[in-house]
Amino acid sequence: MNATRVPRVFLVDDHHLFRAGVRSELGDAVEVVGEADEVPAAIELISERLPDVVLLDVHMPGGGGKAVIEAIKPIHPEVTFLALSVSDAPEDVIAVIRAGARGYVTKTISGPELIDAVLRVADGDAVFSPRLAGFVLDAFASMPPEFDLPGPLDPELDHLSPREREVLRLIARGYTYKEVARELTISIKTVESHVSAVLRKLQLSTRHQLTKWATERRLI
């Protein structure tokens, strides 16, 4: 995105009241270029207006946020997505991330935090809410050896490094990137790159098939 202008944002949510709420919370920090309340309309309007960031509800009739991302991503890779949701099952949230969203925040997020998240995504960074960090830690948790992996394990993609795990843990504890950086005495940029690396692993790893396993059998 061009740093001199505010990001252009598009809202997709089937609740009218919620879209109005988000609009007023975002205020002047971003330019809201449109909104949609269902999947087909969203796909059409986004390809027409090409916003920088799409704020996307995970759950919607007609395939949900995942369907929107899958339709837009191949033709307009420059459009970024931030998933926004009340509270969802881990597999739905991770499915949206794997489809290509750059982050996930809960709807209880405060106005300034939401603006911060949108700016971050517009800059190409990843945004992890505590809940998403928790889901990821769960999905990448150690598995029993007898579990049969579909396909070979890629050590590069299927494991979190200790540092990444540490960063995720702090995010799950409710730390902001700034606080994570201070706690681990690293720069905010380093925190961002760790989070982006985790996002990449989450999108590419074969471990996603384990998410279902992880949620069904969360007892360690």
Partner: protein, 405 residues
Amino acid sequence: MYRSREDRIIGGIAGGIAARLGRDVTVVRIVFVLFGLVSGFGVAVYFFAWLLLPVEGSTETIGSRALSDRQGMTIVLALVPALVIMLLVGSALHANFVSSWGLPLLISAAGLVLVFRNADDEERVRLDDSVKALLQLGSEPRQSRRSFLFRLGTGLVVFVLGVFVISDGALSRSWLRPLGGTLLMIAGTVVLLGPWWLRLALDLMHERQARIRAEERADMAARVHDSVLQTLALIQRSADQPQVVAKLARAQERELRSWLFEGRAPGSFGAEGAATLSAGVEQIEREVEAAHGVAVDAVTVGDAPLDDEMRALLAAGKEATVNAAKWSGASSVSIYVEVEAKRVSMFVRDRGAGFDTDAVAEDRKGIAESIRARMQRNGGTAVVRSVPGEGTEVELSLPRHAGRA
């Protein structure tokens, strides 16, 4: 490796070994007694362990203190000539048992001297008590003097008989010697020391019961604090809103009734069929949000079935969450729970006012009783980090024991 405080008859060594090996303490005790009777070195080993192992919860050993106890060392050195005399007499009389028992017995005597002189106050009081009990055996009111003398006499005769059977080859069957002798010695010891031993065991039981009662009381105080005192504080803060006060009072009344008459502890977890840790965390989320109007964001990684220790963790975590909701002024509280193979951690964090952790008033039992002491009673830890103006984070950690998953 340490000496046990819980399973202690003399020095707590058998208890410590049993805890280390994961065996039953009685088995270890029997091994010690047999080993002691057979060679006498068992007793010496016991005293060495007593000197060299720190008591549970401490790092200093009695032995390290004994090194700087000059008088004690002098007494121990004075025992060496006694040993030499004993060995000489033993070999002169061809009494093998004197020479084979002399060395371990003297080592034990030296150990006893050093232990007695250098044990810490708590342990010395215990030793004093047992010695007193031993000395008072004859003067117990319900026991006549004659029966005591009779017992003393019988015990000594049987014991000495045992010693002779072992040392002297008068019996025709040689395998009968060690066996019969040992049995006779044990019988003599039991007759001599049985009542004393019984009394020690009774004392030990009473001590244990008293400790359990004290822990129950502390648990109860923590529960009352969590429910009744918290509600009273809420009522004070909404004194100008009669409806709110009435609602709070009714809810509290219901909770107390169900506790007193149905035995369901207030704020107990798992009561509504929630039998896992994550369900308990959700319960905290729900209850605190409803009672205090503060958003609670809970994230749980992994899960585990609820047991008493997990319930204590949840209760402490709920208390921390309620504190954050009530005092921090923050609009949201974050909870993070992670279940690992070896431990469970819970973090409760707010970005509110924070406080000076050293300046908390004495009568505010919340952190000390409901959080810290509760975690300690269950083998866990609690750390409170707070910076005035930046917020507070409470970290609770509970070890999980292998084989309980």
